[in-house]
């Protein structure tokens, strides 16, 4: 691990608000520790901007542990940057070279309008989730833990799909800004469990219909989403979504 601090040039997308025209601004990030996370490096740059009386770069962040799905940066042409399987907050500066120019852009999708700088409005994902991404249960007393048997393989698969943190990297990476990987993960995590089975047809129809309404693109099976997903959600989910949707539509 190199311990030498780095000097970097940042090309950052700056946009005052959703209505204004944005443009790239260049900043110098000096003496950056290779052990910093990408967001910590951004914090240092922002400190300098604030000290200089300038507007800091707005970017989304929350847990900084790679599990909340809030950070959303398109770094050097890749969603969440050059390292596979991590979010921007878990990306370390040792993945970059001293003197490098780093281009930082917001997620680009019509369904994810830019709010300010690198922050986009991802409430389209919330609306898709609200359309059917839940299980209707009676909130009574706690049910017996083993009353409904679940096969281990199904539980594992459902869990793999449920690992989706809804960050939107799939949409950002897709050439069509398609939300199929996200929606497929959300449909899959319920479809494979007996609790979700009851509403599976209604769920998939409503979620796909909401996805279309939000203006996401269609799936061309380039599989860029799977390659860029920080949680390694597989495109097997997309096949399952197609299957669930066709079955629901042909048998409803």
């Amino acid at each position: 691990m190199s311990s030498e601090n780095m000097n970097l040039t940042l090309k950052v997308w700056r946009q005052r608000n959703g209505q204004s025209q944005g443009s790239f601004e260049t900043y110098q990030a000096k003496s950056v520790s290779p052990d910093m996370s990408f967001l910590e490096m951004m914090d240092v740059v922002n400190e300098d901007l604030i000290k200089g009386g300038k507007d800091p770069i707005a970017f989304d962040h929350d847990c900084r542990e790679g599990i909340c799905g809030t950070c959303s940066m398109y770094i050097n042409g890749r969603a969440h940057g050059p390292v596979k399987g991590v979010t921007a907050c878990q990306l370390h500066m040792r993945s970059f070279i001293d003197g490098e120019t780093i281009t930082i852009e917001p997620w680009r999708a019509t369904a994810f309008p830019v709010l300010k700088d690198l922050i986009v409005d991802r409430s389209a994902f919330d609306r898709i989730q609200q359309a059917g991404g839940f299980v209707s249960v009676n909130t009574g007393s706690v049910p017996d833990a083993n009353a409904i048997p679940v096969a281990k393989a199904c539980a594992d698969e459902a869990f793999n799909s449920a690992a989706c943190i809804g960050c939107g990297a799939c949409v950002a990476a897709c050439k069509n800004s398609s939300a199929m990987l996200f929606v497929s993960a959300k449909v899959s995590q319920y479809a494979m469990l007996p609790q979700g089975d009851v509403e599976r047809k209604d769920r998939v129809i409503k979620m796909v219909s909401q996805m279309d309404e939000e203006g996401f693109g269609t799936c061309t099976n380039t599989e860029a989403c799977e390659a860029e997903c920080p949680k390694g959600i597989s495109v097997t989910n997309i096949a399952r979504l197609n299957r669930e949707y066709l079955r629901a539509k042909l048998t409803e």
Binding site: E105, N221, A224, L241, R243, L250
Partner: protein, 263 residues
């Protein structure tokens, strides 16, 4: 019915249309390449010309051929609509886009490949389909020795009004029974067309586009239909790459090359 139309109008429904029409066109490729292998037969084009008569007069085939033209149009128009919708889904692009290496080039360029194929198809139809149906394709009279089954030399060019494909048996001077076959000589049109270097190059470009289009399209259509399996998906990918992506385009490409080099 209303529900079905609504489904086909959804994003997944539109992809299903691409998938099903695409797979139907794949099945056509199999038939087309098998039939056209008769061009390589050393019989002055008799088998190929008789096959052409069958393909243009047998009613079930005629019905399927109209279905085929409609399928090509639906596949092309729907892809255009999808491409426009997908462009709209990303109104502002990236400045520093790097696609992951795992995304195949073909998967990202199906529209361009399809456009090349459409241009190829229009030229191809003009070259042969139009020539056969409406152009001045010459008529030929073949003689086949009924004992040996051998085609007796180059066919004779015949002219006249109201010619139609037919055959009859006559006995020649030395008492041999000879089958006389009168057909439109599309084989001669094919042979003539592929003496033009530019046309041969266009056909080769068309087949390269077909190869890439198939390598992605065949397996992608199964994914769209939700068919994905640990054992069968690698098999489907294999068929897509080897049969539809390599063997079929190579066999098609061999046809213009065969005539151009006068093998």
């Amino acid at each position: 019915m209303g529900s079905m139309l609504k489904m086909l109008n959804s994003s997944i429904g539109q992809k299903v249309i691409m998938s099903l029409t695409g797979l139907f066109l794949c099945s056509f490729l199999l038939v087309h390449v098998s039939g056209n292998l008769q061009l390589f037969k050393d019989d002055h084009g008799l088998a190929f010309n008789q096959y052409t008569v069958f393909m243009t007069t047998f009613t079930p085939i005629k019905i399927v051929s109209y279905l085929l033209y409609a399928t090509i149009l639906i596949h092309a128009i729907n892809s255009l609509l999808l491409t426009m919708a997908n462009r709209k889904a990303r109104a502002v692009g990236y400045q520093s886009r790097k696609d992951p290496r795992s995304s195949s080039w073909a998967s990202k360029n199906m529209g361009i490949l399809g456009t090349i194929l459409l241009i190829f198809l229009i030229t191809h139809m003009a070259n042969f389909w139009y020539q056969y149906k409406f152009g001045d394709t010459p008529w030929a009279e073949y003689s086949v020795d009924l004992n040996s089954g051998m085609v007796l030399g180059e066919p004779i060019v015949i002219e006249g009004e109201d010619l139609h494909p037919h055959e009859y048996v006559r006995t020649d001077a030395s008492g041999n029974e000879v089958n006389v076959v009168v057909v439109k000589n599309l084989y001669a049109v094919v042979k003539e067309a592929f003496t033009q270097p530019l046309l041969v190059v266009l056909y080769l470009i068309g087949m390269i586009a077909l190869a890439y289009h198939m390598v992605h399209g065949f397996q992608s259509s199964f994914q769209t239909l939700g068919i994905r399996h640990n054992t069968y998906t690698p098999l489907i990918r294999g068929i897509g790459i080897w049969l539809f992506g390599i063997i079929i385009p190579l066999l098609f490409a061999a046809m213009p090359v065969y005539f151009f080099l006068q093998l």
